[in-house]
Amino acid sequence: MRRKKLKSITPFDYTTIFLLCLLGFFTLYPFWWIFATSIAEPVWLSTHSVSFFPSKTSFVAYSYILGESKLWNSMLNSFIYAFFSTIVTTLTCSLFAYPLTLPGFKLRKFLNIFILIPIFVSAGMIPVYLNMLNLGLVGSRLSLIIPSAMSTTYIILFRTNFKSLGGDLREAALIDGANELQIFFKIIIPVAKVMFLIIAMYAFVGSWNSFMPPLLYLNDDRKMPLAIYLRDLLISQTMDTQELTLSTGGEFYRTIASKGGGIGMRLAIKNGVIIVSSLPIIMIYPFIQRYFVQGVMVGSVKG
């Protein structure tokens, strides 16, 4: 057995490690700072600043946040949209992709081009909006679920993956008298489980983070997803000395202002909201991150 020569750690290595540590620090520090500020005691916070940890802590900001029903409502909305659009999108794209893997399928060439064109040729925000208006989808929750059903990227990923499964299973099933639908549900889905999971996760995160469609198509506070709620609360206040009359932020802050704590309370709450709304993502992140990376790898092999 050949023993690997132990290479000494060079200055290059030290520099690399240092740079990468810097990257890690800069990535994580903002989150930490937001969290530290949110657990700072509001009165103290109004006159002091946090660098790594507040001198006085208090969770009072979170007690207000927990009572803010609009936040939880919007989270629920986001979850509903993400859940249903994941199912719709994953099913539609995979069902569409399967026939494209069969060389004898008559529409194959046509459909392959059909799905590529919209990437290059897009009608633009206004015609798309008017189209939704005509379809009566503006103001409806469906506007966040149905239109995203088709995605060329997902279809191509499915197609590549299905192709690599090989035709033997299918031929054996056909001889046994199965029809294509049964083949899809009983063979393809179980065998390509990983791909389905990856696409489902992409679709879920895509829907959870989606901002423009709800901005354009929804106008009812009760249907608003987390992204829009956050925008109203965190960003519509560009001048932090001004009070807003916007329904979401204004109301909430007026209630808070009446409870005292000054600027510090507002800051702590804003930052607390950021933390609370990032929690779902941060919690499932370690588990799903692996699949996303796999997805990129698969995509890149084809690309």
Binding site: L23, G24, F105, G124
Partner: protein, 318 residues
């Protein structure tokens, strides 16, 4: 010696085999057509049908007359756009923001991938990778929200400035800070995720190439220059072209979240202008024209970059 009889038999059985293969059901089963149907309809309704709606860019569209009966005005909207006060500003901003962010954010993921690839400490490597992907998953609203806090009047950046005796700056209302903040946050959000695809390519490099280089006396930098980087060139080109379309269609969401009337001068881009005019003010025809113009610019960028790449000897995507 094969007899005539045997020849005939083998011919027949071969023919039978062919026939059996052809007769396998499925290649055009009704189920396949049903499977593509939902997707086909969805794409037709949501991606293709709006293309017809593009005609309003050449009409004076109003809801009552609808698509068909609104009067034709030819290129009037485009002429108005090119002659308007805002056109120069919009083009400049779209181009400056799009182009500089495209160029500057292109390299950090590559550098990160190369650095990670050079590392031999796997646990550390994987930890850093996992940490670096996190910002990609955080929704843009939250990222911008964090920015507003971090760089706001009560944020840590101004705290440090005050400590050094410098006055506070309202970074997000200052025109001169818009671009650095925009690009900086793009790098922060995308560096980790962007490096994945390069890492994938790098892990496939045959280690023997490096060993051979070392035997020939190559230094670390020479190894990177002659082995690592050439391997990355093809994938870099592909991404270069694919992302080029994004230059002119500067991300609506991010600019929209980051800008304010105070920074319109440098931040307003074609897509945000379309939004304000079309969705907020209801000037559908004009904004559709602007949007169409924007899309044409994007497509041209992709084609131009594709052409440049081919000229330089790489494979394009078209």
């Amino acid at each position: 010696m094969i007899s005539e009889g045997d020849k005939m038999t083998s011919l027949i059985s071969r023919k039978k085999e062919n026939k059996v293969k052809l007769k396998l059901p499925g290649q055009n089963s009704i189920w396949l057509y049903l499977m593509i149907l939902p997707g086909l309809i969805a794409m037709l309704i949501f991606s293709y049908k709006p293309l017809y709606g593009l005609i309003i860019a050449f009409k004076d569209f109003n809801i009552l007359d609808g698509y068909l009966n609104s009067p034709w005005v030819g290129f009037k909207h485009f002429k108005n756009l090119f002659n308007s006060d805002q056109f120069a500003r919009l083009m400049r901003n779209t181009f400056v923001i799009g182009f500089s962010s495209y160029i500057i954010t292109f390299f950090p993921p590559i550098i990160l991938a190369i650095l990670l690839h050079e590392l031999r400490f796997n646990k550390f490597k994987r930890t850093i990778q996992t940490i670096s992907y996190l910002p990609y998953f955080i929704p843009m609203v939250v990222v911008v929200g964090i920015m507003y806090q971090f760089f706001g009047s009560f944020g840590i950046v101004n705290d440090i400035r005050n400590l050094l005796g410098l006055p506070s700056i309202s970074f997000l209302s200052e025109k001169s800070y818009f671009l650095p903040l925009y690009i900086g946050s793009s790098i922060w959000k995308g560096i980790g995720w962007g490096s994945i695809i390069y890492m994938g390519t790098l892990t496939n490099i045959d280690p023997q190439l490096y060993e051979a280089a070392m035997i020939d006396g190559a230094t670390r930098f020479q190894r990177i220059r002659h082995v690592t980087i050439p391997t990355l060139i093809p994938i870099m080109t592909t991404i270069f072209i694919l992302d080029a379309g994004g230059i002119m269609s500067v991300g609506f969401e991010k600019v929209y979240l980051m800008y304010s009337p105070a920074t319109y001068e440098v931040a307003d881009v074609l897509s945000t202008y379309v939004y304000r005019l079309g969705i907020e003010s209801g000037d559908y025809s004009y904004s559709a024209a602007v949007g169409l113009f924007n899309n044409l610019l994007s497509t041209s960028m992709v084609l131009i970059c594709n052409f440049i790449a081919k000229r330089l000897g790489q494979d394009g995507i078209v």
